[in-house]
Amino acid sequence: MIHLYAFVAEPVIFDGLHGLDGAELDTIDCGAVHAVVSRHEQAVSPERDAVLDHGGVVEAVSSQVPTLPVRFGSLHADTAALRAAVGEQQAELADRMQAVAGHVEFVIRAPVEQMATVAPPPADGGRGRAYLEGRLAMERAERAARDAAKARLHDAVGTLAEQAAQAVEVDGPRGPEISYLVPTGEAPAFTAAAATICDGTDLVVGGPWAPYTFAAGDPGG
């Protein structure tokens, strides 16, 4: 079974870098792109450390050659199956790789706490009306919290997007966030600017990472 990490523009030699469970890394020619893979007897257990190890490979590769990150969990039976899956997408993958090459991703997120301050619906469901009113109150409170978080985020980041090649806002499960695609050479300056913006606030800064959010073509979609 083949575990897929990323696509690169040309074959690479891995020197001391290993994949999940210490497996050897390899590249497979898929036409316009080359897949970074490791081979396993069975599917790798999807635990947190395995996910981070996947990310470690992607980060190492993307910091050294143009790379298109692949989401954790892409498994293929063998080389032929992988090539067949890539198939007609190879040109599009190559285009996307060119678009994100030489860039890293940052995120600034306004956390939204769980709605613990609002009484949840009765555990047994209660009477129909009480249950629905409880659900409605929770949804309204969460919407208000998200709106407030979004306003807080926009007020804080101001014109930070001007320092990025691309920015996209996503209303994520942990609160509204803006992901920034930043040229690698400008990452230190962006890090400093983001830290200044978020200092003394509850905003969370993440990155620099491989450009996962921008790899799929339509990050806002």
């Binding site: 981070l52 990310g55 470690g56 620099p208």
Partner: protein
């Protein structure tokens, strides 16, 4: 035949700084690793009746892990 001597060499790099940094940032990184990045059509090799068992298992495994990170 490719000249292996001219191929780029990729060496290990330290894990992303945030993997050892603030827990909330680690959660954001995990979100990206499992929710973003390219998906290759046909990667649902462990699927039954349209249900992607690989991703389904991943979700189940990760929920308590990420929650425990947030609670630390």
């Amino acid at each position: 035949m490719t000249d292996a001597g001219r191929l780029p060499v990729v060496r290990p790099r330290a894990r992303p700084a945030t993997a050892q940094g603030p827990h909330d940032s680690l959660v954001d990184l995990l979100d990206r690793l499992i929710d973003r990045g390219v998906i290759i059509q046909g990667d649902l090799v462990l699927a039954v009746a349209g249900v992607d068992l690989v991703h389904l298992g991943l979700r189940i495994a990760l929920t308590p892990a990420t929650e425990s990170i947030r609670q630390q």
